[in-house]
Symmetry: C2
Subunit: 324 residues, 2 copies
């Protein structure tokens, strides 16, 4: 019988998980996507057109699309001239579909049809989701993009929350309740993982869900956010927000190539790799690393980490758990 | 056996012909589309991104698409806020596809696949096509959009031509040679009809083609361009450029409603309807008028005429000719 797998995250991490898992038979995939993104092309479309953030959804749709290679290239194509400069075509596509259908989630359904998506992509909420963080020194930051670029070092996060009432969408809740397995992450802790968990009624819904939770631990720490975090820090902090223990903790045991570490170090200072300090029967140690060196795309202003999970290795590992 | 029908024109006229004809069985449709358009959303994309004009192609793709209604709405959706204001989504879609595939015609093929297009849409040329007109008083106008908005009254057009070497595309020539019937127009004489005929090698190709040529005469005259033209003026002038006689001349014999004439008069002065003065055995007089009142869309800066052919009536008329 087909297993219902739900992934939770932002764009890049979910892309990796989904593009590996979609090749397995007997899995039914639903990607729950954070709606907190407000930077870059996505941010411009939100503020100019009043739409919900298309960027992360686009990446999940592309991951699950069974359309031709050229269509996937089209979805990720970024204009680099004129007034459209910086916009990815796929973001404009989703923004226009929201305008035409009058509803972001419905637009995503239509996009899924056009892109021959295997599975479903579901926004975690239908509400405008403005993320905020407060610190122990009394300061605060608003907006996902501002949080993403801020340096937290030297202060302690007191609270991460939404400015307004941001409620889990009906279809996202339904997916959690019907899930056999939930894959939480990988992804940036403060800007991709937690923004999903803190939507209203998420905690209550996942408390009711019988799904086993799989937690692929991030390979690297985000400079300024999670410097020096170890595996145990991720597990402890995520479980605190989640309100229940996770069932499987996936930890990579391969070493990156020296040039991967070098490339990564040009972007971030300090500790690079997440140290494996956690002795726990739920930990599964596997070779999960990609040896592909990613290059930042032209006209793509986002920073890209160069140490990533290999989507096939990660999917194989998840598949073994599912078929145990 | 299936009949090969080629339509020639710009956006609006071809849309009318194609959306009627696509419902008939046993016709294989190819739309040849002028590449002279350089105004509005299309013009902005040309000048900012260096692409070929998508606007008229978009209309033909939508006419022939068998996809859902919401997809067709999406293709015609015009943004009305922010930096994207004024752009139709479909134009951005075709521009991005040209960038991704590296070739406009190939981008149109991919678009046809996505949109489930019944038939083919073929740009008349692959070259940048900058239209120019010279007058008997020594003046000249460059650019389709400038020509479109100019008033010719009081002068005589000496020559309408392309500034550079603009050659018929291979696939457009092939379509003409394989055609059983060619439907030329309706459409603005100087900016939709003639721009197709004057591409290099068009005249030589149509001279070799055994296709019967069907000429649906425009219902109204364009103010400042073809004021007071009668049916015979259209036939005589088009045949001069074509280098051979047309085979069927379709003339409407229905009267517009008073409110249609009123609506039209708010846009143009002088003579509205094209007078039927032509006694010729090739003339077919039929009821071809649409009684739908078209409204100019918000954020759509193009002027729309309110007296149009009815696509079903026109298609029925063409179908009778084909099956005679």
């Amino acid at each position: 019988m087909s297993k219902n797998i739900v992934t939770i995250g932002g764009g890049t991490g979910s892309y990796t998980v989904l593009s590996g898992l979609k090749n397995f038979p007997n899995v039914s995939l639903t990607a729950l996507v954070s709606m907190a993104d407000d930077g870059g092309s996505t941010g411009a479309l939100i503020s100019e057109l009043g739409v919900l953030p298309p960027g992360d959804v686009r990446q999940c749709l592309v991951a699950l699309s069974e359309h031709t290679e050229v269509i996937l290239e089209l979805m990720n194509y970024r204009f680099n001239e004129g007034k459209l400069a910086g916009h990815s075509f796929g973001n404009i596509f989703l923004a226009a579909l929201e305008k035409v259908t009058g509803d972001f989630a419905q637009g995503v359904e239509v996009a899924s049809d056009i892109l021959k998506v295997k599975g479903r992509v579901v926004p975690i909420t239908k509400n405008k989701a403005k993320l905020a963080v407060t610190f122990d020194d009394g300061t605060a930051i608003e907006g996902e993009s501002n949080i993403d670029h801020a340096n937290f070092i030297g202060k302690k996060v007191e609270k991460i929350f939404y400015k307004d009432n941001v409620k889990i969408s009906f279809h996202a809740a339904l997916a959690l309740l019907n899930a056999d397995y939930i894959v939480l992450g990988p992804g940036d802790y403060y800007t991709s993982i937690i923004p999903n968990i803190i939507v209203n009624s998420f905690k209550e819904t996942i408390a009711e869900s019988k799904a086993k939770i799989i937690l692929p631990i991030n390979l690297t720490n985000k400079e300024g956010h999670t410097n020096d975090w170890k595996v145990s820090d991720y597990v402890r902090n995520i479980e605190k927000y989640l309100g229940k223990p996770v069932d499987f903790i996936l930890v990579n045991n391969e070493n990156p190539l020296p040039e991967q570490i070098e490339a990564y170090k040009t972007e971030v200072k300090g500790e690079v790799l997440v140290k494996d300090d956690f002795e726990d029967p739920r930990v599964i140690r596997e070779a999960l690393l990609s040896y592909t060196v990613f290059e930042a795309k032209k006209a793509d202003t986002l920073k890209r980490s160069f140490i990533r999970h290999d989507s096939k290795k990660l999917a194989d590992c998840i598949n073994k758990i599912i078929n145990k």
